[in-house]
């Protein structure tokens, strides 16, 4: 059986980028709605 390619670094990068974007937008909404 052929070896599975080692592409885990790309997967980690995509998962981190997605989490950062979603958390940043969540924080942005929180800060904007908190402002009087």
């Amino acid at each position: 059986m052929a070896d599975v390619p080692l592409t885990g670094g790309y997967m980690v990068a995509a998962y981190v980028v997605t989490a950062v974007i979603l958390l940043a937008y969540t924080l942005s909404l929180y800060l904007r709605t908190r402002r009087p």
């Binding site: 592409t7 790309y10 990068a13 995509a14 980028v17 997605t18 979603l22 909404l29």
Partner: protein
């Protein structure tokens, strides 16, 4: 419970669900043999793309109804959906190249699907810029509705571009007329991810709508006192 708090609660549920998706995708979903771990980007990239396109369709539908009914709630919803769609489009346009590099050997290519998705992202940004540039609420809502309808018209082309111009980007393996070409274990993870992104879309839109409502109310109070 206020509308804003409802939105926050749904967003928290969405984020918790997404954390569950991360655990399931990374630890309990098999690794694809040809692509390796990079294939797991699929569980984020595709649900984000589906909601990027759906959000713009909803902006367009709200725009059509706004032009007939002139209801400010439709304009508020369209603005909220466009902002959230921009966030999801950013996810699609960052995870896509990260996935493409190890599989295609390039970060980017001017393939029809990639190019049309980039165009949709620019339309989203243009929509938000337009809203910021027009001061009169009535005029802003009308111009935005027209641009939203144009954006929604682009979405079917994006979806079918892989059939019209089959180059690098693969054709759908789930959203197609025949049965999904994905093992059950992977399909369940993808469905969880789609549910998490759906919760995030709803939670974000409700919060953004509540923010517009509060701003409009503050603006109305200022005009009443001014």
């Amino acid at each position: 419970m206020t509308l804003l708090n409802r939105g926050r609660l749904i967003t928290l549920l969405g984020l918790a669900s997404l954390a569950g998706v991360y655990v399931r995708a990374l630890a309990f979903t098999p690794t694809e043999r040809l692509q390796g771990a990079a294939q797991k980007i699929y569980y984020l990239h595709v649900p984000a793309a589906i909601w990027t396109e759906t959000a713009m369709i909803l902006v367009g539908v709200a725009g059509v109804f706004y032009l007939f009914l002139h209801d400010a709630r439709l304009d508020r919803f369209a603005a909220a959906s466009a902002e959230v769609g921009t966030v999801f489009a950013t996810i699609v346009l960052t995870t896509g190249p990260i996935w493409g590099k190890p599989i295609w050997g390039t970060w980017w290519t001017w393939d029809a699907r990639l190019t049309s998705m980039l165009l949709l992202f620019f339309l989203y940004v243009g929509y938000l810029l337009l809203r910021g540039a027009v001061a009169d609420p009535e005029l802003r809502a009308r111009y935005s509705a027209v641009l939203g309808i144009c954006g929604a018209a682009l979405v079917p082309f994006i979806h079918f571009s892989v059939y019209f111009f089959p180059t690098l980007h693969p054709q759908p393996i789930i959203l197609k007329p025949s049965a999904p070409s994905l093992p059950w274990s992977m399909l369940v993870t993808w469905l969880y991810a789609l549910a998490a992104f759906t919760l995030l879309y709803i939670g974000f839109v409700v919060q953004r709508y509540a923010l517009s409502l509060a701003r409009d109310a503050a603006g109305g109070a200022e005009r009443a006192h001014g």
